[in-house]
């Protein structure tokens, strides 16, 4: 019989994971926590202030407005991109060269860097040289994203829909391809309508990819920064200034590290909370009653 060896070698096996997680998440997060409870004047002069920054951030009306804008923005693009993505996926060809071509065409917006997307739309919407802007001017619509709040919102949303609907579409496309042919055959035998096929076969089988799609799109859009920054710079006024832009203004523009850190943590918790709510709701919806 072998005697059981007792030593601490297991620590070496856990160490790599521990280090990676520490450097990727714990240390940066703790740094932020550290900032959020101190008033820092310079690297050698700092005071512990407790929850003061948190109180200040929670009462800041500028941030309240940004948060509201952020929610409206995220839910609007979700409400457009998810149904649209499903429609695109349903219309994409499934066989032959057409399928490959469609996949490439649909994927193109995903390959373009954020700030380039912002620049493209910035020029695209200009009334003097932009295709879209000039077209609107031509047909007599007074369109100007730089001065009109509605136009600015429209453009920002349109830009996100253009950039990210392909992601939802590709996810749904893969989900649709995974449905066995026999389900469609059975539905034909049962004389199901096109809508019934979608409602009772395709949509239920898409639930899982849609969860991923919704969560990804929510998190990304909730943290959106580059594209609106390049396109409108947060304006006109502060009408398209979203949360991350407010944060950057505060942290780097004004160098209010403490309040910005407190703000970051609240921001992080909001995303976490909303994701959790989404996930649990969808999971509950498909449970066996």
């Amino acid at each position: 019989m072998q005697t059981k060896v007792e030593n601490n070698k297991a620590w070496f096996l856990v160490m790599p994971v521990f280090l990676i997680v520490a450097f990727s998440a714990i240390i940066p997060l703790m740094t932020v926590v550290n900032y959020s409870v101190q008033d820092i004047f310079d690297p050698y002069t700092r005071y512990f202030v407790g929850t003061e920054w948190f109180k200040q951030v929670m009462l800041d009306s500028r941030l309240h407005e940004a948060l509201l804008r952020q929610f409206i923005y995220s839910f609007t693009i979700l409400a457009i991109e998810v149904p649209l993505g499903i429609c695109v996926a349903l219309m994409m060809p499934t066989k032959g060269r057409g399928a490959s071509l469609a996949l490439i065409l649909v994927a193109i917006p995903l390959l373009i860097p954020w700030n380039v997307v912002g620049t493209i739309w910035q020029i695209f919407g200009r009334a003097d040289i932009g295709l879209f802007g000039a077209f609107m001017a031509e047909i007599g619509v007074d369109y100007n994203y730089a001065s009109n709040t509605t136009d600015a919102w429209l453009t920002v949303i349109l830009m996100d829909v253009w950039h990210w609907t392909p992601l939802v579409a590709l996810l749904c496309y893969s989900g649709l391809r995974a449905i066995p042919e026999v389900y469609y055959q059975a539905a034909r035998i049962d004389q199901a309508s096109r809508w019934a096929v979608f409602r009772h076969i395709q949509l239920p089988k898409l639930t899982n990819v849609l969860i991923i799609g919704v969560l990804l799109r929510f998190m990304d859009s909730f943290m959106i920064y580059t594209e609106p920054f390049v396109l409108t710079g947060g304006g006109p006024g502060s009408s398209t200034t979203f949360l991350s832009q407010s944060l950057v203004q505060q942290a780097i523009g004004q160098f209010d590290i403490g309040p910005a850190a407190a703000f970051s943590l609240v921001y992080f918790l909001i995303i976490l909370l909303v994701c959790w709510v989404f996930y649990t709701t969808i999971m509950n919806m498909q449970k066996d009653k």
């Binding site: 389900y183 034909r188 035998i189 004389q191 009653k289």
Partner: protein, 381 residues
């Protein structure tokens, strides 16, 4: 309810079929009479499911036509053919309850809700699903799901036919037997044409009145289970039906039929008929059940050598060499277990002759235990 006719039907999955092997269904004509319970029996890959999908319209045949009650339906989609089909693996609508699943085909054609209710309850009763009706279909076990799939095939009682594509594969043996009985009862009750695809001969013969045996994309025989057993029209039927399958050996056709030193005498017109077919080779087939094993020495029987005896519990299978050819015979329970040199004979009525794999229908062929020498000696007298 309909009579289903297949007229010069052929199907190939290839774009440009050139040789017979390219065809999943080789040209065939066949009639499934209205109200019958039929089985389509054959090994995997012989074209059974293809044929079924052509009947239901899921697949468009390359050639030929499908007729329901004499009307061509080639151009009709499955949903327009009013046909029910149950697939090998269960298909349920996950998000619906069992009740809604069963009601689905009825609601799709606009049946009023009170009729839906009574019909669903009736079918649920038959399939013993009544206590599951309120459950979501997603949480069911595989065999319950398959019962739901079958239920959806059975709720519409005005369908042209119900097609079953190996529906009991996922169901455990005990329930299998019960469900097969149920299907049979349903058939007797509603008199709907049913075609049941399977590769299990037992399943086919317990369900169907008539079985079509399929081989290499063709129906090689269509008959009652008894006919398939007693008079296989094709060597494949002999081989596939029965356990163990039929014994075959190739005999030589010259002036007489000979197998090694044994002469197989036949009536003159049989010989003439065989000769007129131009083939030098004939295949002789006899079922193990019909091989007579003598307990003692018998001058009218063949002397053969025992290879081994398998005990299958209720009966024994004797393997022996007949002129170097391994053959099998089924021994009855009380028969003594032979060894060494024994005597067997092939009763004439059960001995079948095949040319090019197909049966030459005859009642006049007999096998005698006479050797060539004996025959010559006899002739010399």
């Amino acid at each position: 309810m309909a009579e289903i006719t297949l007229n010069a039907l052929a199907h190939s999955y290839a774009d440009h079929p050139s040789k017979p092997e390219d065809y999943a269904i080789r040209e065939m004509s066949h009639v499934w009479e209205q109200g019958g319970a039929f089985a389509l029996l054959g090994p995997s890959g012989c074209g059974k499911s293809t044929l079924l999908n052509i009947i239901s319209g899921l697949l468009k045949p390359s050639n030929g036509e499908v007729l329901f009650d004499g009307k061509r339906v080639n151009e009709l989609k499955p949903e327009e053919r009013n046909i029910a089909q149950v697939f090998q693996f269960p298909v349920v609508y996950d998000t619906m309850t069992v009740y809604d699943n069963l009601a689905f085909p009825l609601r799709n054609i606009g049946v009023p809700e009170h009729k839906v209710k009574s019909k669903v309850h009736e079918v649920a009763e038959i399939l013993e699903l009544s206590d599951q009706l309120k459950r979501k279909a997603k949480g069911l076990s595989a065999d319950q799901k398959q019962k739901v799939s079958m239920g959806r095939g059975l709720v519409r009682d005005d369908v042209s036919a119900i097609l079953f594509d190996e529906p009991l594969t996922v169901i455990d043996p005990q329930l299998k037997w019960k469900l097969r009985r149920k299907l049979k009862q349903i058939h007797e009750q509603f008199n709907i044409t049913m075609v049941y695809v399977t590769h299990d001969q037992l399943e086919a013969s317990t369900f169907a009145d008539k079985i079509a045996v399929m081989y290499n994309g063709q129906i090689v025989q269509f008959g009652t289970p008894r006919e398939l057993f007693e008079k296989p029209a094709h060597t494949f039927v002999g081989y596939f039906i029965g356990s163990p399958g039929m014994n075959f050996f190739e005999a030589q056709l010259d002036e007489q039929i000979t197998f090694g030193e044994h002469v197989i005498t036949t009536s003159d017109d049989m010989l003439a008929r065989l000769k007129s077919m131009g083939s030098k080779k004939v295949t002789i087939g006899i079922r193990p059940e019909f091989v007579h094993v003598w307990d003692g020495k018998n001058d009218d029987a063949y002397q053969v050598e025992v290879d081994y005896v398998e005990d299958l519990g209720t009966y024994k299978i004797l393997s022996f060499f007949f002129n170097g050819q391994l053959m099998k015979a089924r021994l009855s329970e009380d028969q003594q277990v032979p060894s060494g040199q024994i005597y067997v004979s092939f009763p004439e009525q059960w001995t079948k002759v095949y040319v090019d794999e197909y049966l030459v229908d005859t009642d006049s062929l007999t096998l005698h235990s006479q050797t060539k020498d004996a025959q010559e000696a006899h002739n010399a007298n």
